[in-house]
Amino acid sequence: MMALAVGTPAFGQPNNFLRIGDGSSRVDSINPFGAVNGFSLLTVRTLYPFLVEYDLEGRITSDLAENYAISDDGLTWTFNIAAGATWNDGTPLTASDAEWTINTMIAFRDGATARFSSFIANIVEAVAKSDTELTIKFAEVAATSGDALAQIPILPEHIWAPIAGEDGSGLSSFGNTDPVSAGPFEIVRFTPPESIIFKRYDDFYGTAPKLDGFGVVFYSNDDAAVNALKAGDIDAAYEVPATAMSTLAGSTAVNVVVTEGRDTVFFEINSRAIKETAPELKNPRVREAIDLAIDKDEIIDVVTDGLGARSASFLPPSAQYWYNDELEMPGHDVDKANAILDELGYAMREDGIRVANGMPMIYRFLYPDVATGAPRVITMIANMLADIGIKVEPQASDYPSYAAAIFRDDYLNFEFGLDDFEPDNDPNRFLGIPTCAQFNQANETGYCNKEYDALFAEQAVTLDTQKRREIVRELQAIIARDRPIIPIYAAPTISAQRSNVRDLPPSPLIINHISKQFLMNVTVEK
């Protein structure tokens, strides 16, 4: 019936099958060069081998490479690849597939394969010495090499090489609707946007999963997923809204799993162009007053039913090892905030708005409508700032327009912003956001601090994890001091599963897409 439905119809009634439902997402693409959201990345992770990947504890572990050795200068890594691995069309899976994939990503890094440019940035080349041996040469020693390799899927050369074309443009426009894969599961049916169904691939090079298969069904709202879970139409629901907790908690057939999440909501203060528009915002005292006025606990109560996490650092507590837990958690004290502003001589007018430098403290407050917690967080912050005589004018827009507005005229058209970011396992990319190099890209406040940039560069090449951790903590302390971005809360990830589902591990990500081990031990009792 569907033109896109692919694969074998003769799947039959599987015994041990996990039915997942989600109300906010969908698989946007199963082409690794186009996949963006969590479930697309889960699909890519499931279908394709990676040299290494993360385990459930967030450590680098082996995947296709059984082991690897690093040369004395740290620049050449040699991987031993599982022998006898095959793609699901019967073609052998060898080191040359990995060689081709990595070198192709390097060749078209400014074009079709740009999605992987940050992961291959430090790689010079990959060479297949034999079917089972691969070496990768790095340009410099970096702390993030393992993390980068854990993000690069190995694609079947015999399928992808012919479609690449001269400039590689064929790679990113390839629909890949009937993928040749080698991971623990293969696609039985992909019916975008409704659902995707996998079954176990019996010639998988690793340990066989316990499940016969799994599938994900996508609804266009969270209610539908919750209803389906309650009705027993699905076994597990992801992105469960906090507001549904109370109704689900009453059911004995359903277990709700709340995990400290990584997705963190930030209040952003323009740190670049405000010299012209609102010089008072440069003052750290004013920033402190703003921080004091925002009652994060109240926001967490309302928006996340009390399940979100406070964070003293812009890197959330779920970053665990990297999180700087020595930072002081900013308090909530409206009186103190008002006292600070009084002291600075920003008198309050009759209409309750303060005047600073001859201008009323009325500021533009931009946010993308897809931001976590919006619009409720916005109205709450607006009310809280009103209590200290600061008026904000919220303006929602779609993400492209938001980014365009923020960066327009070199950060001249806003004072406040709100957005959310989700750090990776390795904090490198996340820490890079408030650097000068990220102007007009990821840096939404225009914050630029040479001291920060130098430390950031240093942590990236510090191989001693303990030492690197010290620098990472220092970076967090700088941001907490300068407050270009004020963390509001880290959103919880809430999932729910029926009680006959066993060994489905929780994840700080909305759906775990960084480890094949995620689904390996799951069983579903009838």
């Binding site: 709202n221 969270d222 209610d223 919750v226 209803n227 809204p241 507001t243 549904a244 109370s246 109704t247 689900l248 109240e298 109560d301 309302v302 039913d305 409508d369 919006a374 619009p375 409720r376 916005i378 109205t379 709450m380 607006a382 009310n383 919220p394 303006q395 929602a396 827009s397 779609d398 327009s401």
Partner: protein
């Protein structure tokens, strides 16, 4: 008509305010519609005063159920629903009103010009009108609003600018027939300016129809306001009925079992649209509509005289 005869026994002058009121009293649905519209107008003006709680303040639990003090419970921010629906009336009504005003003005002018001047102008204007009639309004509205970014003013303009076509059609037809009336032709023959003729002779004749289509358009505009809000294409920090429905949907009021967060704004929209349609239909019926008398019906199993044949 002699000037000194007392007016008490003569029927009310057609078109006078008292005549309108008298006519209106005779139609129960129209009367109900007018009363409802007046009630909403009152809420629009005094909403801030009569709302029992501040809509910016959390006064109860998230999706808290109705209590004696909070008759309709709370929304996803713990805000009193009664107050939200009351305060939301203003934006819903104003968006509807402004959009209807734009549509009626624009459509009225186009219809008037096309009907009055005829010929090439008519053909040109009607071609444009037909084009916009053929384009599906809601999809175009959604796409344009998505392109321009979510904003209340832009949404209002969009709704207004996509709803003028029916008004233009109706007004053109009415103008065409009015133009052929004897006194209009006489005035033109005597050298009256176009503007004079339009203002003195045509406008009074189409005023009723213009009002009717304005009120009907108001209803459609309120409907579209809610639809755009449902797609998240209005500023989410504003309070309108459409946004209340959207918030409840987006924040999973259904899973929370909070019917009170969904039902009231929808009822309000329904009642407002219903009232507009009743009043609109009444005006149309009494200013150009036709009533049909059937020859057979369940009440009377006999043949009825054809309408008007008795005279």
């Amino acid at each position: 008509m002699s000037t000194d005869s007392p007016s008490r026994k003569t029927p009310l002058a057609r078109g006078s305010l008292r005549w309108h009121v008298h006519m209106l009293m005779g139609s129960r649905p129209a009367m109900a519609g007018v009363v409802i519209l007046l009630f909403f107008l009152f809420v629009v003006v005094f909403g801030d005063v009569i709302a029992p709680h501040d809509v910016r303040e959390k006064t109860g639990p998230v999706f808290g159920p109705p209590t004696a003090e909070h008759l309709l419970g709370f929304d996803d921010g713990g805000v009193d629903m009664v107050s939200l629906v009351i305060v939301g009336t203003r934006i819903s009504f104003l968006v509807g009103f402004a959009a209807a005003l734009i549509a009626t003005l624009f459509g009225g002018i186009v219809g008037l010009l096309a009907g009055y001047y005829g010929g090439t102008i008519d053909r040109l204007l009607m071609a444009v009108t037909d084009y916009f009639i053929a384009i599906p309004a809601l999809p175009l509205m959604i796409i344009l609003a998505a392109l321009w970014g979510p904003d209340l003013t832009r949404a209002t303009m969009l709704i207004g600018l996509l709803l003028w076509t029916l008004t233009a059609r109706v007004i053109r037809a009415q103008t065409l027939s009015a133009r052929e009336r004897g006194f209009v032709r006489r005035a033109k023959a005597m050298g009256a300016s176009d503007w004079w003729v339009i203002r003195k002779h045509l406008l009074p004749q189409i005023a009723g129809l213009l009002t009717a289509s304005g009120i009907t358009t108001l209803a459609v505009a309120v409907f579209y306001e809610a639809a755009l809000a449902f797609f998240g294409l209005e500023s989410a920090t504003a309070v309108s009925w459409g946004i209340l429905i959207h918030n409840a949907f987006a924040q999973s009021a259904l899973s929370a079992g909070a019917w009170w967060a969904i039902v009231p704004p929808g009822v309000a929209i329904t009642v407002l649209i219903l009232a507009c349609n009743l009043v609109g239909a009444y005006i149309e019926d009494n200013f150009g509509g036709v009533n049909y008398q059937p020859h057979i019906s369940a009440q009377r199993y006999t043949l009825l005289p054809r309408r008007g044949s008795a005279k």
